[in-house]
Amino acid sequence: MESRADIRKTYKLFIGGAFPRSESGRSYKVDDSKGAFLANAALASRKDARDAVLAARSAQPKWWDATAYNRGQILYRVAEMIEGRRGQFEDDVVSAEGVSRRKAASAVDAAIDRWVWYAGWADKIAQVLGSSNPVAGPYFNFSMPEPTGVVAAVAPQDSSLLGLVSVVAPIIVGGNTVIVVASQNRPLPAVTLAEVLATSDVPGGVVNILTGDYAEISPWLASHADVNALDLTGVGDAGLAKQLAVDAAVNVKRVLPPPRKAPDWFDDPGLDRIRAFVETTTVWHPIGV
């Protein structure tokens, strides 16, 4: 049998449910953990970030209008599909992070479990973070969590799949939409996740994945007046993180600063990340009407 031609891939971005090339036409080499060539990935520019914000903004109201139960079902379906492509994800994690196959398998397991766990929270956030408040008058008084809106996130640089999932899932489960900049040197699990999201029921624009140099893209996202919150988890450089937080002040974004010490993504995540991207709305309602 003749030897087959290699299929060499140049991966693309994931914006608004489509896979565009970078507007700039640029791409960059992605190597595995030992420095051998793996693939080319798109090197996103500020204009790709701008397009992603537009897509996220237009998707957000509809995503929040879906019932919480429905959002949970859609997210659960994503977990099912990651399970279906587990082999590919394991390969991606092995080559990206240089871990053993067993370790990679446990990371993929944890990523799937994490996704299922957050999917389950979709219709429980309001019960746990909301309340009905006793007030001195003939009124009902409710506090309810509502999404912050469009969130820009920098995914962890080391944990290419589990870390990414742990950042993206809590943002979207609350009804937000997200623009996430994938790990710069380990973007391929994010690209595979994009392929999963594109064929799942998640509406286009709810998750937008950019690959490339986060130091180039994130300042534009931080200062963008149509972004409501910033998740700086993957920003390693403290100076840059501070500057991004300053830029974010332009429209008083919520900012989730980078963790003080490197998190163990296998740990129980708790509710902190969900809580970081919801706002509490309190309404008064006269009793008997």
């Binding site: 701008r50 200062s223 007046a225 149509d226």
Partner: protein
């Protein structure tokens, strides 16, 4: 083309038909690719800043809905006068464009700072008797409109009754008095580029001050190639008669990028003479917001968002 010649080609329907069908045909592929090629021009930095301000000053801010209220028209007029209150130096738009019954309210709101354009002649279909159309026009002018946007009778045009269309435009022009007349072709219903070129010449022969692509109610509305054909017609008309006719693409122009493409097209086809609100307008409602967002982006250095412009 002198007066005698105009009289000659409009003497009868067959003479007019001979003239219009004698116009050179439009190379459809050529027009499309010329428009596509010009739309790849990149306009950056200070040229872009100028283009955005020029485009803002060329907007006919439009509301043509059945649900228009006096309050909505007044709000739109306030925006037309001062598109971005957060920034000094933003020019006002060229005109507001409303239905005839709102022309008085619009005139009261904008004073004599802006033009008030009213659509008339049974807009958007144009399906009414000549008497009704003329009265519609007179009403709008009386209410304070100084620009009238009329629609041609596409049925008559497509059936080849060119003289009927011609005479209707002449009659409406007369009813306008001193008001400027814009003639809307609804190019989406004319089917071919050849028809667009014929309609352009027909309207100019009848005395149009502006020729306008569409009502905005029919898709496709304004496109670059169609606007290119209109621009070529006014350029050739200027060469033959020395008089200047304006062009107004309307409908479907929503982004600053689109608007700048149109400006490139104008400059490349007719030259800088036409780069003025007196000779080129955008009929649009949402375009203005995008122009303002781009202007804010260039002024502040960061991207702006829909929270920083009005909801129309």
């Amino acid at each position: 083309m002198n007066v005698a010649l105009v009289d000659g080609v409009t003497a009868s329907n067959s003479a007019l038909r001979r003239f219009l069908h004698g116009l050179p045909g439009v190379d459809q592929v050529g027009a499309d690719s010329r428009a596509a090629m010009l739309s790849t021009r990149s306009i950056k930095a200070s040229a872009k800043e100028q283009a955005i301000d020029l485009a803002i000053s060329m907007v006919d801010l439009t509301t043509l809905e059945g649900m228009d209220t006096p309050g909505k028209v007044r709000a739109m007029c306030a925006k037309a006068l001062r598109p971005d209150p957060s920034s000094a130096g933003v020019p006002h738009v060229a005109a507001v464009c409303v239905y005839g019954d709102m022309a008085g309210i619009a005139r009261e709101a904008v004073g004599d700072v802006l033009h008030v354009a009213a659509v008339a002649t049974a807009f958007p279909s144009g399906r009414a008797s000549l008497n009704v159309k003329l009265q519609d026009t007179r009403d709008a002018v009386l209410a304070g409109a100084d620009e009238i946007d009329m629609v041609i009778d596409r049925g008559a045009f497509l059936a080849g009754r060119y003289l009927e269309v011609f005479e209707e435009i002449v009659a409406v022009k007369e009813a306008c008095g001193s008001a400027h007349l814009k003639v809307i072709f609804e190019t989406g219903e004319l089917r071919t580029y050849d028809n667009v070129r014929r309609a352009s010449w027909l309207a100019m022969l009848a005395g149009a001050d502006f020729i306008k692509t569409s009502t905005g109610k029919v898709s496709p509305a304004a496109t670059l190639p169609v606007t290119l054909i209109l621009l070529e017609a006014v350029r050739d008309w200027h060469r033959q008669t020395g008089s200047l006719v304006g062009v107004k693409p309307a409908g479907g122009i929503r982004t600053a990028k689109d608007a700048i493409r149109y400006l490139v097209l104008v400059n490349e086809t007719c030259g800088p003479t036409w780069l003025t609100p007196d000779l080129f307008r955008f009929g649009a409602s949402t375009l203005l917001n995008d122009l303002l967002l781009q202007r804010q982006r260039m002024a502040t250095g960061h991207y702006s968002g829909p929270d920083y412009v009005t909801i129309d």
